[in-house]
Amino acid sequence: MRLGPHRHPSRRSQALLATAGLTAAAAVVHAALNVREVSPVGWGVAVVYAVTIVVGELWRVNVLGTRDFTPIALAAGLAMPMTTQLPGGEFTNYSVGYVVVVVGLATLFGQWLRQLYSMGHLVIGQVASRVIVVALAAVLYRGLPVAGQPLADWAVDWPLRWLTALAMIAVALVAMFVKLLLMAVQHSINKHALLWQSLVDEVGAVGPLALATASTAAVIALAVSALGQIAIPLFLAPLLLLQLAVGRQSAVRDAQRQTIRSLSRLTDQGGFTTPGHGARVADLALAMGRDLGLSERDLVDLEYAALLHDLGQVALRRPIPGGATTTTAPLDQRRIAHTGASILARTAELSRLSQVVAAQSVPYHYGRDVVDLPLQCRILKVSNAFDDLAGPTGRGQTARRALDRIRLNLGYEYDPLVVRSLSRVLVRDGRVTPADIVQLDL
C-alpha cells in the first residue's frame, strides 16, 4: 500500500502486511517441499497463468476511481488453484504453496513492470491482498477436507460437471468477498472512513464486476480441464468486454467530476470568491462526511454541492469583497443560495444537489425546530463557514480563530455534531492541536 508522506502505517495495514508475509513464507516452504510433484504439463499451464496475471496487471482499465480491482489478473489468479485436471487424463498436481508462490510472483512482477513503464506505482498492499485472497481460494479448494477429502478430489469423482462448477463458483465467491473486505479495510484506513460503510460502498461499486470475475475464474478452470491452456485467454473474452464497459463508465464519471470541479472555479475566475474556495470547501466537507459515515453516493452529492455552492454569486452584479458569503447579510446569503439552487434544479441529475445548496443559508436551529435538515446541508454550512473565516491557508492561529467564531454560533447557526467532526478532521490534518480544541471547549 502507498502511504501518504505524513502518515504512519496504521495498525490494520501492518496486520495485513504481516498476514500476507507469513502466508507467503509458509507458501514458499510448502511449494519447495512439493515442487517435484508438479507435472510437466502443469508447469506449462502455470506459465500461461503467470503471463495472464502479468498482462492483467499491466492492462488495467481504470475501474471506478482508484480502486485496486484488476478483473483479468484476479480471475486468472483464482482459476489457477482450481485447475486440477488437464485434457488427456493428466493432472496438474499443484500444491497450495506452489499456486500462491506463482500468483504472488506474477503479481509482483506485473506491478514492477507497471512502475518500470511509469504506468503506476508498485503497491505492496495490492500484492499482499492478492496473496491472501489466492491463498484462501487454494486452501479452500485443495487443502481443506470437506467430508473426508478436499473439493479438488471430489470434483474428479463427480459425474455431474455442473456440480463441479458450482463448487468452484462457491470457492471463488468466498475469496472474492474477502477481496472486497480487504479493499474496504484499505479504503477506511486511507480515507478515515467507517469500515462498515466502506464495505457497503465497495460491494455496491464493484459487486457486479466481482461476480463476473468469480464466474469467469470457474469457467477458466473448467475449460482448461477440457481444452488445455489455450482456454485461459479465450475464456477471458466476456470479462474483457465487461472490463471495457466498466472502464467507459468510470471515464464518464471522471469527466463529470472534472466538469463540476471546473464549473466550481467559474466564481473564482469572475473574482467572486477566493481562488480554490469551492475545492477547499469540498475537500473539508468530504472529510467530515466520511468521518460521520455518509455513503459513497451521498458523498458524491455532498462533494458536488460543495463545489457548486457559490454558483449563485455569478448572478451578482459586483463581487462580494473577499467572496465570503458568511459575512454578508442573511437576506443576501439566502438570495445567493436560491439563485444557485435554481440553476441546479433545472437538470434532473443536479436537482438532488439543489436542496443542499439552497439550505446552506438555513441556520441549524431553524432546521431543528421546523424541518429536518439533511446532514449534507449541515456539513456544507460548517465547511463553508470555516473556509470563509479561516481563508486559504486555514491552519494554526487563523484556524483557531475561525473555530472560535463558529463556536459562538454553535447550536444556533451550526450543528454541534458536525462542528465536533470538523475539529476531529482539523486535528488529524495537524491544522490545529488537540490542546486548542480542549481550550476552545468543543
Binding site: L227, L244, L263, G270
Partner: protein, 480 residues
Amino acid sequence: MPERDLASAPLISAPDRSHRPPEGTTWPVGVYVALVCTAALLLAVTGWRIVGPPPEWSAVAVLTVLGVIGSSMRERDLGPHVGVSVATVILAAALPLTGPAGAVIVGLLSYLGGLRAQRLRTRLFNAGMTGVLGGVGGLVYFFAGGKLPPADELLPLQLLVSVAIPLVLAYVAMTMLNILLIGGMARVTSGAKALDVALRTFRRLGGGYLTHALIAFLFVVLWAPVGIGTFSAVLILGPMFIAQWTLTRDSVERRSHVRTVKTIVAALEEANPYSVGHSARVAELCERIAPRVGIDAEDAEMLHYAALLHDIGLIATTPQMPRVTGPVDVDYLVAITTHPDAGVRMLQGIDFLGGAVPGILHHHERVDGRGYPAGLAGDDIPLFARVIAVADAFDSLTTTRSYRDALDQDRALEALRERVGTHLDGQVVAALGSALEARRWWPTVIEEDVRSVAGDAHDHDDPMVSDLYAEWSPDTEPVL
C-alpha cells in the same frame, strides 16, 4: 446484431434517429414484413427436412428464454466498433446447439416475446428477420461441416474445424443478410436506398462485431463438449449481461453529462437577455455545418462542446467590463479580448474537452490575421474555430440587438459572404449556405419590452465589433 429501430429488431440496433414513419402501415411494408416472416417459417421447414429436428428441445427452450431477456435490453455500442448484444450471442450459439430449425424458433420467439415496448409491425419484422437469420445461419453452419464433437474426443484442432470455422462463416453470412434485410426495410418504409442503409449499418459494425461469434463459440464449447449444459449460460452470459447493463447506465450518464454542461451554460447566459440561448444556437449551427466541411461524428461531438462553451470566458471578463453606453470604445475592446483565454483557463482541468480547446481559444480569429487572441491567419486557424466563428457571427446577425433588428436568413448570409476572405472562411460560409438550404433558420427576435428593460448592450460577436478590433489593432504580429 443490427436491428431496425422503427422495427426495433433483432440483431443490430439501428441509429436512434431513424425517422418514424406516420402511423398506419402502408401496404408495401405489410407485404415486406409478411414475406420475411414466411421466409423464416419456410427456412424452419427446410432446415428440419435437411438437418433434422433440434437434438434437444430443452436447449431450444433455455435459449429462447435467454433470448427474450437479451432482446429486451437495448444493444449498446462499446467504442466505435465493439458492440455488446447478448441476443446476438444467443442466436449464434443456437446454430450448433439446436440446428437450423431450432435456430429459427429461438430467433422468432426471442424477439416476438421481447419486453421492450414496440409497435406490432416492428416486433413482427424483427422476429421474422431473426428467424430468417437463424435459419440461414444454421444451414450455412451445417454445410460448412459444423457439428458438435462428443465430450470424449475433444481436441482443440477438432473444435476449430468442426465448430469455430463453420460458426464464423455462418455468423458472417447472418450479418450480411441482416444488414440487407434492414436496408430493405428502410426502402419500403422511408424510401431510402436499401444499399446505402446496408452499407452505413455495416460500417457502424466494424470487425469488433466478430467478438459475438467468439463468445458464442465459448458458450457452445462449455455447453456441449465440456458438458456443463444450461449452467454455462450463467457462467458465460452473466458477464455479458452485466456488461450490457453497465453500458446502459453508461449512456444515461453520458447524456446527463451533456445536459449538465448545457444547463449551466444556459443559466449563466441569463444575466444578459441578449445572450439567452446563444450558445445552444451556435452549437446547433455548428452541428449542421460539421458534416459539410468533413468533420466526422466523433469530432462533431467535440465541436458541439466547443460551441456550447465558446463564450464561457465572458464570466471572468464581465465583472471587469465598463458599463456600456454609447459606441464601442477601446476599453470595451481590451476587456473583451481576454475572454477566449479566460475560457480556456476555466476548462483546463477537464481532460475530455482537450479537443475543444483550440476551437474555444481561436473563435475570434480572422482569416486576414487581424483577430484575437493570437492573430492567426487563413488555415492556421483551427477548423473548429473557423466553424464556430461563422456560426457565431450568423447567430449574432439573426438575433435582435439593442441597436438593430434581427436580419433574416438570406440577408445575414449575404452579409457573411461579403466578409469571406477578410473575416470568415469561404468554405465554411458556403457550407452554412448549403446547410440552410436544407432547412431554414428563423431569426431570434427579442421583444421590445425585454429590450427596454435590458437597456443598451454591445454584442462582441457582431461582425462590426470584429472590424473595429481589426482597425484598432493594426499590428498583426502573433501575440501567443
